[in-house]
Symmetry: C3
Subunit: 352 residues, 3 copies
């Protein structure tokens, strides 16, 4: 960590070198308190993460923590070192959930710089990092690449040799499922889980409007983002943001992802586990007062090697603001339909 | 559950038949996290549900979960199947708390349709259900009747034979107290509990102004209602509600009940357990920005059979918005006094 | 407790006598749920209170609860009896954290009246109390003096003999550290804790701008204050406060203290434990919508007797509203600089 005197101004583009490993503060024990807050913030209803008796009956040793809560906590740790001076969060790739997290586990994170490229303006550069979240036993629970555009401290600094990592367009189905124990399909009660639709009921090309909408408040998204110990200033400081580009605080992009995931229960109730995120794009910002809607397309179905208990669906979920999704707004010839704020490409597991 | 393709539009009047049993999603493990959120949302101060050392000293095996938190969670489970297409929530009856709930218990719910009656408009019908909440051992923790006015899918559908259940005006005191262990009266410390007033200090006819007021915010009531996994759209979706009858999101009626109960501590500090709800009426809607006040009338006092540890008070609590209750606003000749939003008739237990 | 009929109007100046001991309701079990909410409300990142694995590695038997959460809970208990009729909260002194609090501990509080002095107006008086928070084993966890200006019930009541306690200007370093186990300095990982700066890196006279700002919402501060079961009406009741001096709800002063402490992580990341509060002054009120900033001055460094593991820093932290702190706004010739809302003098411990 670069420290100027006692406080940290965050790292600038010049502070990163390819191959560098960065350890992040602060270790974070995930508890039943976090789980309750996650429910209160999103209204999520997936049975495995809501009912211990259900989770244990289908094969989990205990009720696991929601995958996206794990993602947000690990992501939050990386912010002070990676993206405090970021101009834009450009993308995610190759994100895999590799071990289930249970209440009581302590998460911590490191990042390796895997690419650097100055932008043509000479004022910023793109930093590629692979961030890894681990538990108190050192086991990897989450691994992902993200790239952000970061300010240079000094525009006159020389550009580093550009290194752009070769990233997969999607996580292959062969490596999915490491965080999911063997599921006892016969014990999967579809009344309790909320839908009779299992993996084999979904087909590639199918589109699902998740129907419901959820309005976001300033207090909501700030509580969420503080819960994740994410320190990005744009989410919290109205005094400064009021004078900035939007005149308002921005909602953390991960908050949108969790809202979309919670809304997707209506249509994907048995998609109990996010196994991987292939890529994601925050197409436009979300502000408090806006109402979020979502729809999903199944883009691929896949079996997992040597597993007959669960199958994988590859989904592209779009979230919108103040626009219901009955007409499936998404990409257009020259960008995205009005109102689209998120396009997320990911794998979920479902009982077969 | 009626499923149109993958998403559920909720049940319409035609989907219900008398005698039908409906299993509800999603099982929900109640934790210390939920208890903390419940305190943060209402500021409740009843000693048995706040201090484990107090609860254990007076006779509970552990600190129990607030009765109304149990009610809201069970109620929330029924919403997607019973009241997603409801025009109005008409009433509750015969609600009994039958077993204490402790952190770690997993709650799930079923409903039996016990009555159906088409309304004179031919556009809606009244559905009566008995809903039952159970724990992970299958024990009933809560049982209640509610009736709601539900839209017909097709106005041309024939009316079913009307069946209107015979409902008790009140729960009889003889069946109260199943969820309450024997209380050691000598161990009940009235300094810690907040009041020297025990059961015998209250008389039928007594009216108590609870004095304090609590302002509701959008973030508050939405966090509460999501915590209960209650999916009723009117509480969450400003985009749609902004175009609707009120132009705003409605606060969940149960949120009002919990606010009134928390306010009632000032005057009823030793009323540690809600044993039954005889009936309730949401007289007018509550919106964010309004301040809730409450007052109660003791309408009956009762001994419990074979118990000398606790006695029962029957209360009618009124909640108001933006109207202090020093003048006890309630029923008038042609309805309710201005500002009244809730009339709740229930039984509480107090140490003798 | 003075009770008028069934509800309590709070105590007036005439109800207090020097030497009187007041037991407070309601005992409160602190849980992992409270810890999660505390994180969500402030975004605090000190490693000892965030990561159980970190806390245990450096010498705690388990992850302790944040010191200020303990303070707020104990303080909240005293409000109904001490300050419900307070006109002003005048000061704190001699506040010591004497035992660590862990999830599962039940806190309760008593206060002793140690001073009384009628004010010259004859309408109010100053009440000095020493309040003590204890756990379920009766061990003192927190002890502090505060004084408040309280209304008289009747202006004609005679003034009591004035008794003004002799209060220390600061807690002496010799008594600090009772709530802190021996810390294994070699196990203190400064990457995980967020800063390489240990006790010996700080000097008296040093000033640190904590840089970041946090905007407060009505829902935030009310959830916090309800979580602490603090019943002071000015925080909750817009109906009444809307007609009052400010036209708005006031944010609980302790909320400002916790915000300032959380912001101080940036510059004081290893200041893991608040050991004592020497004094504090709420210079001006805070309202929802305002953004809080903070800066600190190190006013003294001290070794602890017989301890080589940790050292103490005496800090004076100032919080402001809508004013960044790069120019260190504080006391001026005739008061405080514009925007200053808090001046807090306290001791923190850091690993040596």
């Amino acid at each position: 960590m670069t420290t100027t005197d006692k406080t940290t101004p965050g790292n600038f583009f010049e502070d990163f070198t390819v191959g560098q490993t960065i350890g992040h503060a602060t270790p974070r024990t995930v508890t039943e308190g976090d789980v309750a807050l996650y429910t209160a913030l999103y209204g999520t209803r997936f049975a495995v993460q809501s009912g211990a008796a259900f989770a244990e009956q289908v094969g989990y040793p205990r009720m696991p923590v929601d995958d996206l809560l794990v993602f947000h906590i690990v992501f939050g740790k990386t912010v002070p070192d990676i993206s405090l001076n970021a101009v834009a969060n450009l993308g995610y790739a190759d994100c895999r959930f590799e071990a289930a997290v249970y209440p009581g586990d302590t998460l911590w994170a490191t990042s390796e710089v895997i690419g650097l490229k100055e932008t043509s303006s000479g004022k910023t550069g793109i930093v590629y990092v692979r961030s890894t979240g681990r538990n108190q036993r050192g086991e990897t629970v989450l691994d992902y690449v993200r790239w952000v555009m970061v300010r240079k401290r000094d525009e006159a600094s020389p550009a580093p040799d550009p290194v752009v990592p070769d990233l997969p367009g999607a996580v292959g189905p062969a490596v999915l499922g490491a965080a999911c124990p063997t599921i006892d399909r016969g014990q999967w009660d579809t009344t309790l889980s909320g839908s009779p639709m299992r993996w084999s009921d979904y087909q590639a090309g199918e589109r699902i409007d998740h129907v419901d909408g959820m309005t976001v408040e300033e207090a909501d998204h700030m509580m969420a983002t503080r819960l994740y110990q994410n320190t990005a200033r744009v989410h919290f400081n109205q005094f400064t943001e009021g004078k900035g580009r939007f005149g308002r605080r921005l909602v953390y992009g991960g908050h949108v992802i969790s809202l979309a995931r919670a809304l997707s229960f209506n249509g994907l109730a048995n998609a109990f586990h996010v196994a991987a995120i292939n890529g994601g794009r925050h197409v436009a910002p979300l502000f408090a007062g806006d109402t979020v809607f979502a729809w999903s397309e199944v883009t691929e179905t896949a079996e997992l090697p040597d597993r007959t208990d669960v199958g994988a669906l590859r989904l592209v979920t779009h979230a919108t603001r103040d626009r219901p999704c009955a007409d499936f707004p998404g990409r257009t010839e020259d960008g995205y339909a009005d109102g689209v704020i998120l396009e997320l490409d990911y794998w979920v597991l479902m009982p077969r």
